[in-house]
């Protein structure tokens, strides 16, 4: 028999982020709002987007160095590119007539994945936070020794955010890491990641984009969950741009695999298999 646990739920929603100021005549309307204490109307006039993002997620304004790194981060990860599955999802949907208001949700749903998505960014941020006080070369040796050879028919993950991309070291990720690391300031997670990637090089592995994003987020003081979210925020413009571009091109603009390249491993070819299934 079910019984209530008499759980004590909050009577009101509570937030440290946003305070709306009630209109004197209508309690359902707000005249202005404050974000962590700053008047929204003043923010609109004086803050740029990276400052606003940092404030929303961290509760304080970034200093000049954090501001510069976040600014570069948002540009660095503005677009996973048209070969990324999340972008292709938005493009496929758009080409097949999906309502445009769904494109962002479709792209972001797939960008949440644990392979080259925000799921991997979150895991990579946890990995970096856990190991940043250890010697990266020692961690690399330990992780490489623990790899299962059988897992290596496709891409390898020595750790979340580090491994191979299409069987090789991703030169673009390494370049992005260098660009972010060159931002004036002290960025220990990006430094540690560089050391870790260098220690993986002889094994054919290196930085992956989610690892770079995670390291920058750790250096900006973001927790792993926020790191994943920030990666999604950064990537959304690219997902939408490709989706919107494709929505103007129509159904035939996306490849449709021809029958001759569609290989169905037919269980009817093996009657034993069908007997077992039926």
């Amino acid at each position: 028999m079910e019984k209530s646990r008499h759980t004590q739920f909050a009577q009101r929603i509570s937030t440290r982020i946003w305070q709306e100021l009630t209109d004197a005549d209508n309690p359902w309307l707000a005249t202005d709002a404050r974000c962590h204490g700053y008047a929204h109307s003043e923010m609109v006039a004086q803050l740029d987007y990276p400052q606003t993002l940092f404030l929303l997620l961290r509760g304080e304004l970034p200093d000049a160095q954090q501001h510069a790194l976040l600014d570069r981060f948002l540009v660095a990860f503005c677009n996973p590119g048209p070969r990324h599955g999340a972008t292709r999802a938005a493009m496929n949907a758009a080409a097949s007539g999906t309502r445009s208001q769904h494109l962002g949700a479709i792209g972001l749903a797939l960008l949440g994945g644990e392979h080259l998505g925000s799921g991997e960014v979150e895991q990579a941020a946890s990995f970096l936070a856990r190991h940043r006080d250890s010697d990266p070369a020692v961690v690399a040796t330990t992780r490489l020794a623990a790899e299962e050879p059988a897992e290596n028919i496709a891409d390898r993950r020595v750790a979340a955010g580090f491994g191979t991309l299409f069987g090789g070291i991703d030169p673009q990720a390494a370049k992005l890491a260098a660009l972010l690391r060159a931002t004036p300031g002290h960025w220990p997670a990006l430094e540690w990641g560089e050391g870790f990637a260098a220690a993986l090089r002889d094994a054919g592995c290196g930085w992956l984009a989610p690892g770079v994003a995670a390291a920058a987020c750790v250096d900006l003081g973001f927790a792993p969950r926020a790191a994943g979210a920030l990666y999604q925020i950064a990537s959304l413009p690219g997902l939408l741009a490709h989706g919107l571009e494709m929505s103007r091109q129509g159904l035939q603009a996306m490849p449709f695999v021809p029958d001759e390249n569609y290989e169905f491993l037919d269980p009817r070819a093996d009657e034993t298999a069908r007997g077992a299934n039926a």
């Binding site: 009101r12 509570s14 359902w28 700053y38 400052q51 304004l61 949700a105 299934n277």
Partner: protein, 272 residues
């Protein structure tokens, strides 16, 4: 040099699931969708087949359908359903609202999102029992110093006890389906926990034990039940969408309590 997996899959689909040949029909594994399935098999048999590549017995498919019924509360206070209702009041398309509600149910606390950990838990406990471990020792190993038990599939938010377990048990008996090793272990654990306090087997714990006994793997279980809350989300979305826009659980400004930093001026030196 051997062809890489990426080269072998470039512009090419390799599948054991089936597909559509124009003029020939649609295949789902060994079955023709239109000739072998329509009118002969239920949607839940098809769903099981498409997820697992195996055609389930009609009884198992009906029992899984009953699981979906059991998670179809048309109550917008339930978290995923409220997402659907908010989608209705915001005049979202039904697909967006139901997708959002479905995503919300991918939770570690309840619903299909908890299925994987519940499966892993009961499978591990069953292995330990098989190896001769006592239920008491298994529970002790999973109880923290503060007395909190880590046992996915036991206890549930808001209520203790779970009437759905009895309903599903009765239906399994009506279908002539017997309980296997995992369900047996689940009941033994339930009996022990009931002597300790309010933790008891919930629907999710029972369901995962039952499907494990029927040859479903942990990953298959997580996939099979992905949409299990969808009817309740549909209900809550539909009603809110039929009401005037913006009227589902509206909040006045003072319904939100602000607990953050006090009003402050933007520091001039940091701006741009």
């Amino acid at each position: 040099m051997a062809e890489s997996i990426w080269d072998s899959r470039r512009h090419r689909v390799v599948t054991r699931k089936g597909g559509w040949r124009i003029g020939e029909g649609v295949r789902v594994g060994a079955y023709s969708l239109l000739d072998d399935m329509v009118g002969k098999h239920t949607f839940f048999e098809l769903l099981f087949l498409e997820v697992t590549d195996r055609m389930p017995s009609p009884a198992l498919a009906r029992w899984i359908e009953a699981c979906f019924l059991c998670l179809s509360f048309p109550d917008p206070r339930i978290w995923c359903n409220q997402v659907g209702a908010l989608g209705g009041t915001l005049r979202c398309a039904p697909g967006a609202a139901v997708m959002a509600g479905t995503l919300a149910s991918d939770s570690g606390m309840y619903g299909p999102g908890a299925a994987r950990s519940a499966c892993e838990f009961i499978a591990q406990v069953t292995r330990e029992v098989r190896a001769g471990e006592s239920i008491e020792a298994i529970v002790a190993q999973r109880t923290t110093r503060s007395g909190r038990l880590r046992a996915p599939g036991y206890s549930r938010p808001v209520a203790s006890g779970d009437d759905r377990v009895g309903a599903l048990c009765r239906f399994a008996a009506e279908l002539g389906m017997s309980e296997g090793e995992h369900v047996g272990v689940a009941w033994r654990l339930d009996a022990h926990l009931r002597t300790r306090g309010s933790d008891s087997l919930n629907m999710l714990g029972y369901v995962v034990a039952f499907v494990l006994d029927n040859g479903v793997s942990t990953e298959e279980c997580y996939r099979l039940f992905t949409l299990i809350v969808n009817a309740g989300v549909h209900a809550c979305y539909s009603e809110a969408a039929d009401e005037p826009a913006g009227t589902f659980l509206p909040l006045r400004v003072d319904d939100v309590e602000y607990t953050g930093a006090p009003p402050r001026a933007l520091p001039r030196e940091r701006i741009r």
